[in-house]
């Protein structure tokens, strides 16, 4: 079973990543131990973006080829992406509380991420309001495409808006070698986790379809 191998690989990578984050890497000199959340936050953000890129690609493929497979792929990726975006907003918030002194601030990146989160929440709201399958897939694909195209425009507008009124500075540079390695391993581990969760969702959805088809047959 391919998925078993993937599960084992992900688990092993996660253990290594956790070891590196909590034991191997030194604490940040300025912000202290809270900086370690950075090794979760950045991979989560990367996965969120990757997941929505997959949604975008599969949505285009759905509108083009009209195979049910593409809709299953797009919606599974959006589910995992929404979970990761939520986690990445939460870890950012946990980090911001001791460092900036607030849970939330309307900084450019925070605002863009929040809008991204809302767009993909809308993706699922739309899906839940349409019962007919083909239509649900078509409309969701449109939202998936529109939402992704919108991301760079949102980022541009918000950056221009906030650079006029500088917010708190997100710390930049000054990563020592151990930190860079830890970050790389964490990113690989989380990417494996994404692929694993994504594959599980796809499998479950395929089974769901088969079950529904069988049920329809009995009636």
């Amino acid at each position: 079973m391919k998925i078993r191998v993937l599960l084992g690989l992900t688990a092993a990578l996660m253990v290594i990543a956790l070891y590196m984050v909590f034991i191997f890497v030194p604490s940040d000199a300025e912000t202290g131990v809270i900086q370690r959340i950075f090794y979760f936050h950045v991979p989560l953000a990367w996965i969120a973006f990757l997941a929505f890129f997959v949604v975008f690609g599969c949505s285009i493929m759905y509108l083009w080829k009209r195979g049910r497979k593409w809709d299953i792929l797009a919606s599974s990726s959006a589910e995992v992406g929404l979970v990761f975006t939520t986690l990445f907003l939460l870890t950012g918030s946990i980090w911001a509380r001791p460092v900036w002194g607030v849970w939330w601030t309307w900084d450019s990146r925070l605002t863009s991420s929040l809008i991204l989160w809302i767009i993909y929440l809308a993706y699922f709201i739309i899906r839940s309001y349409i019962s007919e399958e083909g239509r649900r897939a078509r409309f969701a694909a449109i939202v998936g495409i529109m939402g992704f195209i919108d991301i760079p425009i949102i980022a541009m507008a918000i950056t221009l808006w906030r650079t006029q009124h500088p917010g708190p500075v997100i710390f930049e540079g000054g990563l020592v070698t151990e930190m860079i390695w830890t970050l790389i391993v964490a990113i690989i581990a989380f990417t494996a986790l994404y692929i694993l969760l994504f594959s599980y969702r796809v499998l479950v959805k395929q089974d769901e379809h088969e079950l529904n088809a069988l049920k329809a047959l009995r009636r």
């Binding site: 809308a122 709201i125 739309i126 349409i130 495409i145 425009i153 541009m156 221009l160």
Partner: protein, 196 residues
């Protein structure tokens, strides 16, 4: 729609009252919240009547492409929204004693309204085909048009603050880019929404 927009303005008057200075700084926000709400309301109507009276089927058997139907509906909505704004802007200027009628502001308004209707027409057609109808449009519309709202509010603020053309160019650029990109994309995918 005009009455709705004026009502929103009157309610803003209760919500925010302050010195002339405060009102000038609040104007861009009030103006664009009014336009965005009035816009969602009118865009919601754009396809509900078509659906209820089966007019959409009539349009679809016309010997024109789906894309032409999109352009027609989009231009129609654009016309009605601009009509609302033509009435609302002077009323706003009168009630709040703020000079909101100037060439830069009119250009911002036209560009931003175009952005509203390009995406709004597509999502409106999408929303009437879902179970929740009126609920769906705002959920899709507001996050997607957020760059237009941000840019329009910031640019209007700069115009009212007496800044020169150079300061609003970058904002106008973002709105124009949004208009062009989404006009093309919505034009291309519209047939996916209305074809059964």
């Amino acid at each position: 729609m005009i009455v709705f927009a004026i009502l929103v303005i009157v309610i803003f008057n209760f919500a925010f009252s302050g010195s002339q200075q405060t009102m000038v700084s609040l104007t861009p926000g009030m103006l664009w919240v009014t336009f965005a709400f009035a816009g969602v309301l009118s865009l919601n109507r754009a396809f509900i009547q078509e659906k209820e009276d089966n007019c959409l089927e009539g349009l679809m058997v016309c010997p024109v492409s789906r894309e032409t139907i999109y352009l027609g509906k989009m231009l129609g909505s654009l016309f009605f929204m601009l009509l609302v704004e033509v009435v609302v802007l002077p009323v706003f200027a009168l009630l709040f004693n703020v000079n909101v009628i100037s060439l830069p502001l009119i250009i911002i308004t036209i560009l931003a309204t175009l952005g509203f209707v390009t995406i709004g027409t597509l999502f409106s057609a999408l929303a009437v085909n879902t179970k929740a109808r009126e609920m769906v449009l705002p959920i899709l519309f507001f996050p997607i048009v957020s760059p237009v709202i941000i840019s329009a509010v910031s640019a209007s603020g700069r115009v009212l603050g007496g800044e020169s053309w150079g300061d609003i160019y970058s904002w106008l650029g973002i709105i124009a880019a949004f208009d062009i990109i989404f006009l093309v994309v919505a034009y291309l995918v519209f047939s996916v929404v209305i074809d059964e």
